[in-house]
Symmetry: D2
Subunit: 265 residues, 4 copies
């Protein structure tokens, strides 16, 4: 099975890039499953039902989230019905939404699990312990598991990947919005990438206008960060090939599309 994973989609420009490139990437790469992190699609923070549906419409099978999952209020109105959307599984008990979902691929099933780091992020539940807990459930259903680990620091991401090495097909990081150049397969067969990068403007800072970010660093005055919605775009992604029987990865490759690196997979 081949999985295509695309990192944090920022704003309308990010959605346009998904709509533009996903069909082309699917044509070239022929993934069985396409997963997109959508935590920044609504004005840079959060997601709405309309945008969730637009992502599915554009060819996405599963939408993952992160620390901005609950920023738009109306998520509460649709999250429990959004069967193809996952928020970090280690949010405290009682929080709406699901931490993983199952995708049917021919005769097999792929579990897509979302977890969130805690270093320099909110103190939600421990992602390591939660992974153990949730994997025990998932393994009743399927041995094939993809993990979007939404986190800030490199050490936590690699630590979780080693911790789950051999138990899941892939641990791919999101949140920093910058793709890392360390794609590899760990000793026991888990594909790993510290961060897959973002999808949105290529001209700002992490998808938002650069002037307010710089002004905030210079003055420490409150700032409003707005997605850039026009101009050059970028798309950060990777694909992973996994064995359908064991769930072990055989290949991981990053994809960077922008004006410096035009699409040529």
């Amino acid at each position: 099975m081949r999985i295509l994973f695309i990192g944090d989609v920022v704003g309308q420009l990010g959605l346009s890039l998904i709509q533009h490139y996903v069909p082309e990437l699917k044509r070239q790469l022929k993934p069985q499953v396409t997963i997109v992190n959508g935590e920044n699609i609504a004005d840079g923070k959060g997601i709405t039902e309309k945008l969730y549906k637009a992502l599915l419409q554009a060819g996405t099978d599963v939408v993952t989230l992160g620390n901005h999952a609950f920023r738009k209020r109306d998520i509460m109105d649709f999250i429990d019905g959004a069967k193809k959307m996952v928020r970090p599984a280690n949010f405290p008990a009682g929080v709406p939404g699901q931490g993983y979902t199952i995708v049917n691929v021919n005769q097999t099933k792929l579990a897509v699990l979302n977890l969130q780091g805690r270093v320099f992020l909110d103190a939600i539940d421990d992602p390591f312990t939660k992974a153990d807990e949730v994997l025990a459930e998932i393994k009743q259903i399927t041995p094939l598991v993809f993990v979007d680990f939404h986190g800030e620091v490199t050490s936590e991401k690699l630590a979780l990947a080693y911790y789950l090495d051999g138990q899941v097909a892939a641990v791919i990081g999101t949140h920093t919005h910058v793709q890392t150049n360390d794609a590899r397969i760990l000793p026991k067969g888990t594909a790993f990438l510290t961060d897959v990068g973002m999808t949105g403007s290529y001209e700002g800072i992490l998808g938002v206008k650069k002037e307010p970010v710089i002004h905030n660093f210079l003055t420490k005055l409150p700032a409003r960060f707005e997605p850039i919605e026009t101009g050059a775009g970028q798309l950060g992604a990777c694909y992973i090939d996994i064995k359908d029987d064991t769930g072990v990865a055989t290949k991981i490759k990053t994809i960077r599309i922008d004006k410096d690196f035009p699409l040529e997979v």
Copy 2:
């Protein structure tokens, strides 16, 4: 002028990799200047005079540092005499050591400036303002400036790079120990890379043994993080070509050497 820059050297294994690969990289790439971040060379935290000299001996022209600069006590005994070593320029006034140094390259001079971010790191002086201040000095001497910006988060690194775009040849990030895949030249000519990566063990977490890191995440008990000193290594680097007259970059390219990506520049 071509500059070769190599990221955070961790422990003795990191030093061996420098000793092994720097001659080969110089042969192939023919850089005029070789710069190495050495903040983790002494047992993973800090630097000693002996190790500083070993880096120079191995072909390094300038050693940059970061948040671990002052972790080994004996740095106080040699830092003021270490003319080829720079610590972040935005440490408060009165702190020993220098924030930049000048390297003579034929008829030209290259300034090597070290700055440190403040997001999720110590509250030292503002790197943006300090950059303005120090560049005013440097520009009296030379228009060619290389910046090692040691920082945790992607937004701060790119913000500083845009802030200095056109004024310096390159802003290259260090500290996260994971190379990013976003090398580019910004609109006004500054080469940028969020993080160049590290040099040391390929088998642990950021150069140190993985078991204590994972144990610490699971238990929150105090842990001692030790560099891995044997086994497979990795080297994270990049090279930048700059115009000797204007100091503008014309090319930036990352280098990743490890068993998955053997040396072939």
Copy 3:
């Protein structure tokens, strides 16, 4: 000279308490100068011109601020004309507003200086170095200096107080909204109190409704914190007696007014 200082006024209820108790406290204590921290007066975060004037109207001589100083947009419209208002002096150069102001008291002058800590707060400029810088200016005008040090942690507040001991009449902490029980005069004559406490609801958490705060701790979902505007109130204050010639403190005493401790100075 006697100085009355009242801590962080939260919302309309906080303002009512000021209007109610300041006249009575003045009658009983006969302070020459009354200073009030107003960073939370506008809906819990920030200040408006109308509320600034209401504080002056209620008998306040100087309004100090803190990390929420710039939260309401319209501060930009009046801050430069607000001669009796100070924001932390260690905001970066170029930020509107003033860090200290001078109050005339009979034949003498009192400087009121606002500084902000950096531990667990924004990385603005170093308050220690800034204090040196600003005091050099102030001492040209008057030896009498009152400092509102807005900070999170106890160690930073006491460290600054010791650092300034003998140079200023008082270092009084704000920001935690809980009055501490450690009022004292340091060896060289500076009065010190880690935190003076807040003025607003006695029934919530730091002046705001408790249910959203608890819900946020339990779920880590975004929450809106709103001041409680009715019901029982509390007022946190202290007064300091200083020598008009040397600016050294001779007495410091805390004032806590709430239903458990009704006003009886």
Copy 4:
């Protein structure tokens, strides 16, 4: 039942103050139970078996801990046998030691529970959820519960106290080393105090020498913080009266002993 609780004992000087004042405080106040926070007794960070026994010897019934609980290595050798010592109950599962202990007082039993906050402290398990879990166990044994809540910020401490209001006799904060002036009984009968303060030197900063603390703020260079072991001392404490049948508090009063406030309860 009357409970005497004494805050963070720092170093040998802290122990001497316990040895000196506990007998006198017991004589005057006649508490049935004496509890002491000992997380800083061993050189300012952690505890050893010898010092644990010295605290018991000095008249302590239970020793509570906090974020420094595990700083001295030898705690691992005696923690599981230390029946009168508790470490924060919300350390992850599998961590040695106990989170609460039961003290027999005539015909009744008092549970002493230690919890730790997470704001600006390590991301251990959620203290709110853990409190629910542990109280369900404790309530099988006794309705009388004392909580030492070790935390940094005022909001988290008061939030937990309101959350447990009516279920426990007292929530008393530790960790900031500065006693607060907000002792009260919450609406449903739980006694609350944001922080009880510390026991150790009166002349330094939180019990340690002030010069290295100030130097660290000025330079951001690494510093070694050492307890002050001679000179003037201070003791921070409180006592709480609770009803033996319902476990509701009827009185809470702070005690501050230092040269400015000599012992006179």
